[in-house]
Symmetry: none
């Protein structure tokens, strides 16, 4: 399971260095083959080891074309899925199109999220985070049932 947080910079060529503590796993897991695609829920990117992505892909294939949300999710995630590999310095090259989607500027953050990594523009992430923290903090909102029964 991937976890953890790092602040990183996207250089002028659109490259992003994966934190070193994750490199070995990423380069061994599927011969170093990775898949980068967009996160349809947020303006951020997802980075999967190929083997994990293939599993996702089969699940996507099962989504009905007659359900609008399902169709769109499929289109987006598959359509933007880009193969990539770590270079000798442990970086990946993020295509222009995906950089635009996630509105990546110079500063980015990368978050371990179980079977994948999530990549955000730093400012956008902070905004999201603070918004969420506010919601958790005030007790006015209704936590979902799943959350209500969660003891950490």
């Amino acid at each position: 399971m991937f976890r953890g947080f790092s602040t990183l910079s996207v250089d002028s060529k659109g490259r992003l260095a994966v934190p070193s503590r994750h490199r070995e796993r990423l380069s061994s897991e599927t011969g170093g083959c990775l898949v980068l695609t967009l996160n349809p829920m947020d303006r951020s990117l997802w980075l999967y080891p190929l083997i994990e992505w293939e599993f996702i892909e089969t699940k996507l294939a099962e989504l009905s074309d007659f359900d609008k949300q399902g169709r769109r999710t499929k289109q987006m995630m598959r359509g933007y899925a880009t193969d990539c590999q770590l270079d000798a310095q442990g970086r990946i090259l993020i295509p222009q199109e995906l950089r635009d989607y996630a509105q990546l500027k110079k500063q980015a953050v990368i978050l371990g999220q179980g079977n994948k990594f999530e990549i955000w523009d730093k400012a956008a992430w902070k905004e999201q985070r603070d918004q969420w923290l506010e919601q958790i903090g005030d007790d006015s909102g209704e936590p979902s049932d799943a959350l209500r029964s969660l003891s950490l």
Copy 2:
């Protein structure tokens, strides 16, 4: 179960010494692997032995991506979960990002909380504590049913 209170200092490199009476348990429990993450309820940090964290992680993994609150909770807790180990002096290095989140200055406190430790900035903790004591004391707030049936 962890319990107890200690005042400690965070040095200029962001290191925090775990009280010695807890070291042995922390370094033996899961080969010394620990996970440090943020406490989404308060501006403080949680320190889990890896084995305890993994249990939390599986619970988080079950939350749906299509429920916004669940998704955010997952993102935050996993995203900020940082692997760490005690160094030769029994300290952990707290990443800048987490220090900022918990607003840790020079003085910190660490509280045993069952399956984990909670780490606060000392001043922030005192403030919180006094505030809570006031609230608990006056009977204006509505205690939940669970609390109502609690005999201490």
